[in-house]
Symmetry: C2
Subunit: 337 residues, 2 copies
DNA sequence: TTGAAAGCGCTAACAG
DNA sequence: CTGTTAGCGCTTTCAA
């Protein structure tokens, strides 16, 4: 419906010169006489001429668009990373095409395919919680389409990644718990094929050892991060002969669920049981008890991922994994002292 | 860097036929012989041929992309609406190009311009809280570029809009407060130029009248929705000779701030003061007291906005305002009975 | 039934 | 210094 946009031809016709002259004048080509250059640029400004990206794209074989796939759009963690990606991309004249996998492998595969149809120049991805096959990403790699993973990563020998120092973060959690006298620390982890699960489990084991606590397999649980399964796990943990006196989780939501359940059971936090989250959703401070959690530099993760994208675009072999630091923010839910 | 995508020409060369024959065969043109059609389609499938949207766009003068501008990306309210828009857009073969105004008029103007540069086929917008000038939108309208507003709307004689029934929603809030014995109901509204402010103020006045409460101008405040200014307003309201015994706000965040402040002052909710939010951010139930609020059909708002977009695209004169219903969800923060 | 050619908007090599 | 031309991938007349 929209009126046709202004083209170089329109400007050329109006000035009675050739299209190529206009094109060159617009980019200050030295061959063009100053008067013509000025006349063309004045008219372009006046008419508000904007080059047609489709034509450019066709010519240069690039769309200046980056496909971004996240597990969901409604979590602050991802929104904030997206904002970071968007900011850096914009500074490079790139747009973002956003897709959500809704934590679903099939939808993720579909999103990759859709973004490919849209001819994005590459993708920045955080894989879904179900993602345990990688064919759809390998296909991108084979076609030399730039790809970057963040947070939940895979194929890190082939693909640049941005992660946080999960081992260190969990170590800090365990030390903090330990200093507050908690001894039986339960970890409600995520699906075991996820990088964030395995690296945090490593940190868990290491942290226990560092603090002279012994590892009890019953306290390490892998869930699917869903509310129902989490509740199930909580019930099982609480009915152990020797139940945990502290919980931390793969993310804040899991621990909010724990908080709700403990509240129902009238178990006192942090006196009877201590809680620590992971990610610092911004409502962490609005909860009934302010939640101790691991703050992620979300904006920076986004910016970094975008940076790596542009490096990868120029260096097909590039596959660095950048590790960013997190911070333990101590609040009410774990402070007994 | 990426390898060139497969083109019609590649298929044509491989089959030793002309490009136009391949093009026709692919869309089952009746002129083409069944054998050739089959051969072409088989090869296209095998090679995973995908038409180049840039070439199509150049030809058809459309990008199949909708620009979406929201005040921020990190609020659940907007993320959820975006998900709705995206869903419907996808069903029509359209992509979404997302931009945030960060509640800033200048950034909004910039976003409109950027999206225009990207040649989106149109835009779906929720204006920033600062937006009191509309030149940037009028420019779109003049160029017959389809535009739809949602939630915070303007120019509704020219542009299709999706809003909720704000008057009715506020009426319900006032009635609910009144039934719970609250008599001095403060409304912390937003900037007065916003449609959501004015329509809710109407509802406020009407609701007071309907419930036999008298209007006290001191209890109706316009803020900028920022935390600092909100705190300022709260302090002023509480230090009135005759302070309010109930608050509701332009959104949940404002009321969360009230909740925090009251908590600091050890004022009891809902006994001494009742609270009602507006929007139902999903952490409303994680707050220290579960918040009574107005639930918005966010997903539906998004879907509807996208629907109107496609209607507008075919009917330049179309400018209906669709009103969706909300629901008052009663929780702890306002229940004295 | 199929092919050749023009054109969408732009750039760049090649002429003049 | 400026204009002509070809070509990016595709559809669509027009010719054969």
């Amino acid at each position: 419906m929209a009126k046709r946009h202004l083209s170089l031809k329109d400007l050329a016709t109006e000035l009675n010169i050739s299209i190529s002259t206009v094109s060159r004048a617009l980019k200050n080509h030295p061959d063009i006489s100053p008067e013509i250059t000025r006349k063309v640029q004045d008219l372009a400004l006046l008419r508000n001429y904007v080059p047609n990206p489709l034509a450019m794209g066709l010519l240069k074989q690039e769309t200046k668009m980056i496909g971004v796939i996240v597990p969901d759009l409604v979590t602050h963690f991802y929104s904030s990373i997206i904002a970071g990606i968007e900011e850096y991309a914009k500074s490079q004249g790139y747009f973002i095409l956003l897709a959500s996998s809704y934590e679903n492998l099939q939808k993720e595969i579909e999103s990759v395919s859709n973004l490919l149809k849209a001819r994005v120049d590459g993708m920045i991805v955080c894989v879904s919680k179900e993602t345990n096959r990688f064919d759809h990403f390998l296909q991108l790699i084979e076609n030399e389409i730039p790809l970057v993973f963040f947070d939940r990563v895979c194929l890190s020998e082939l693909v640049p990644c941005v992660v946080v120092d999960n081992k260190e973060a969990v170590n800090q959690i365990i030390s903090h718990f330990s200093q507050n006298g908690y001894k039986r620390i339960a970890f409600i982890s995520g699906p075991s094929h996820l990088s964030i699960s395995s690296s945090r489990i490593e940190g868990y084991l290491e942290g226990l050892k560092n603090n002279g606590l012994k590892f009890d397999p019953e306290l390490l649980r892998s869930g699917n991060m869903g509310t129902e399964e989490t509740i199930q796990i909580i019930e099982e943990l609480l009915s152990l002969p020797n139940p945990p006196d502290a919980f931390f989780g793969i993310n804040d939501m899991v621990i909010f669920t724990v908080m709700k359940e403990l509240k129902k059971l009238r178990i006192k936090i942090p006196d009877e049981i201590g809680l620590v989250g992971f990610a610092d959703e911004f409502h962490a401070t609005f909860s009934s008890l302010e939640l101790t959690t691991i703050t992620h530099p979300t904006h920076e993760i986004g910016v970094k991922a975008a940076e790596l994208f542009f490096i990868k675009k120029e260096n097909p072999g590039y596959a660095e994994t950048v590790v960013l630091q997190t911070q333990l923010v101590i609040r009410e839910s774990s402070s007994r002292n």
